[in-house]
Amino acid sequence: MTNTVPPTEEILLAETGSDKAPRRVSALSYFLSKLGGAAVSMAMVILLGFFAFKILPGDPVAGIARERQLSPEQIAQLRSQMGLDKPLWQQFTDYLVNVFTLNFGESYVYRTPVAELIGDYFWNTILLTGTSAVIAITLGLWLGQKAGWRPGSLFDRITSGMALVLWSVPTFWLALILLMVFGGTLQWFPTGGMTSPDPPTDPLALVLDVAAHMVLPVVTMVAVVYAQYVMVMRASLMEEKSADYLVTARAKGLRDDLVRRRHAVPNALLPAVTLMFLHIGGLIAGAVTVETVFSWPGLGKLTFEAISGPDLPLLQGTFVVFSAVIIATNLIADLIYRRLDPRVRRG
């Protein structure tokens, strides 16, 4: 959410400028280098996790001992139970084994293994963020190309103005407002959860029930991020506007509308879509507050509950899974980009 709108133009230039190296990259080495990059990022997440959860919080046993009386033997026993009496490198290898076997320990709040909890909630978050991402990207591309084709027009000024205002809105506040207006006052949509208290058994009715519960959270997430996507697509189309092939297309006598749709937009799409995927982390992070406000049973709500505990094993689990999802999304975006854009294949 702290990704700023205005510098995207900057990044766009850096992004498109970087593939000008006159070097032919084979498919395999491209794939391996991207995979390697993702692996390094994941390793950094895991390292960061160890630092944040095992070193920064200090001694958890000391915290417990402050709250209730413990004999020195009990303290020693607790420490050996938690593996704190081992040297740091051994704690680190234990931690690595646990992360790779998805063993994040037991949640303090739920009293169940963290991996199970995350497994239960994972797809709910993917459903919510995936739907939002598809809608936000479609809307962003469509509005962005319209605005970028005629910069300075009324449509462009309204779209860019909306983008600036929406970018200044905290996600959770927009969620609260929608909850208040459409859930509270108008009562058009359910205000929380993923299904009604007694979900319908008929599959079609169940789908409709879930869809009704999704409306407000999805609208919130789309509203907050689509503005960034509009600006990306707008900048990308404006880059293409001065290209020679558009002069050719016009010289052929094509209508303005066709020049835009058949020539400018397809070329502007590629860098824009890539950048949108790069920014998808912001959308996924928005799930934390949106799910909290609408009590959507997903990873974001788990994160919120982990904070209020604080339930460090649960927080560690959601942190690692959130990061892994974002890194995987970026990897997929990179691979699709190469399939779509022959310029990258040529290097």
Binding site: P6, V165, S168, T289, I327
Partner: protein, 303 residues
């Protein structure tokens, strides 16, 4: 004319040049209508935040002193912005909250700018493995959503306003670093830097005398934009219950409003007032930042 200039010391000449550059910058900035609107608004808000103790003495925030004031009073002549769940005037809480929100916004931004500038210049200046590693680090922090990392940091560290500042500062520098790196690379290839290097200038000299002055205008533009997003981050962390409970930021007010389910109980002013305050201030920072960016970054000027 030339004799007059030559009689002055290089330092004085440099200052004269900076003064004219600043005057030109101020002239161009004053031509941007949206930038000026944002700036004037921010000056007023900062002044109000400073004057908070005068306009609304601290006792007005003390729950025990406002016992006879009605709870959840909607906005009226008596209670301009309404009252909260403990009978405190919302406008008083907004004024005091402005202090905390702005302070956190500026402090976190300062930290983020310092890290971003240092890492960005280093990534652009040092070639080979150190540069590549730093670039990797920047990309990593760019992709990883800062909010999630900030949540983790402020949960595991002890609660407090400086924890929030550190959590936001440590997680929001990557965008700046990227812009600074790009600018460093382009300055690095210019002749005057090359000349300086041939004459035997070390890393320190090149960084401080050539690279830093060249990237600072961009950092300045980024600063104004980052303050806005830092204020949003602060309010989000406060809303999630990670803020300093003894301090009243705008996010903390929103957190209180959720604790009493103001959104679903019809206390609309309790949700609207702090939110609109955040939106307006962030919007003002964005407008100023964009105006500055258009001036200092000539590639954007045509747009």
């Amino acid at each position: 004319m030339s004799a007059h200039v030559a009689s002055r010391s290089p330092r004085a000449m440099a200052w004269a040049r900076r003064r004219t550059a600043f005057a030109r910058f101020a002239r161009e900035f004053s031509r941007s209508r949206s930038g000026m609107v944002g700036l004037v608004f921010l000056v007023v808000i900062v002044a109000l935040a400073f004057l908070a103790p005068v306009l609304a003495p601290a006792w007005m925030l003390d729950v025990t002193k406002v016992m006879d004031s009605p709870r959840f009073a909607p906005p009226s002549w008596e209670h301009p912005l309404g009252t909260d769940h403990q009978g405190r005037e919302l406008w008083v809480r907004m004024l005091w909250g402005a202090q905390v929100s702005l302070l956190v916004g500026f402090a976190a931004t300062a930290m983020s700018m310092i890290i971003g500038t240092i890492v960005g210049i280093a990534a652009g200046h040092f070639t080979g493995i150190p540069g590549a590693l730093l670039m990797r680090l920047i990309d990593f922090f760019l992709v990883l959503p800062s909010l999630i990392l900030a949540i983790v940091l402020s949960t595991v560290l002890s609660r407090g306003v400086w924890t929030i500042v550190i959590a936001i500062g440590l997680t929001s520098w990557a965008g700046t670093a990227r812009v600074v790196r790009a600018q460093t690379l382009s300055v690095e290839s210019r002749d005057y830097v090359e000349r300086s290097r041939v004459l035997g200038a070390g890393h320190w000299h090149i960084i401080v005398k050539h690279l830093l002055p060249a990237v600072l205008p961009l950092v300045l533009a980024n600063t104004t934009l980052t303050v806005g997003s830092a204020i949003i981050s602060e309010s989000t962390l406060a809303f999630l219950g990670l803020g300093d409970t003894t301090l009243q930021s705008w996010g903390a007010v929103l957190r209180n409003s959720m604790d009493v389910s103001a959104a679903t109980s019809g206390y609309w002013w309790y949700v609207l007032v702090p939110g609109i305050a955040i939106v307006l201030v962030v919007l003002a920072f964005t407008l100023v930042g964009r105006a500055v960016e258009t001036i200092v970054n000539p590639t954007l000027r045509s747009r």
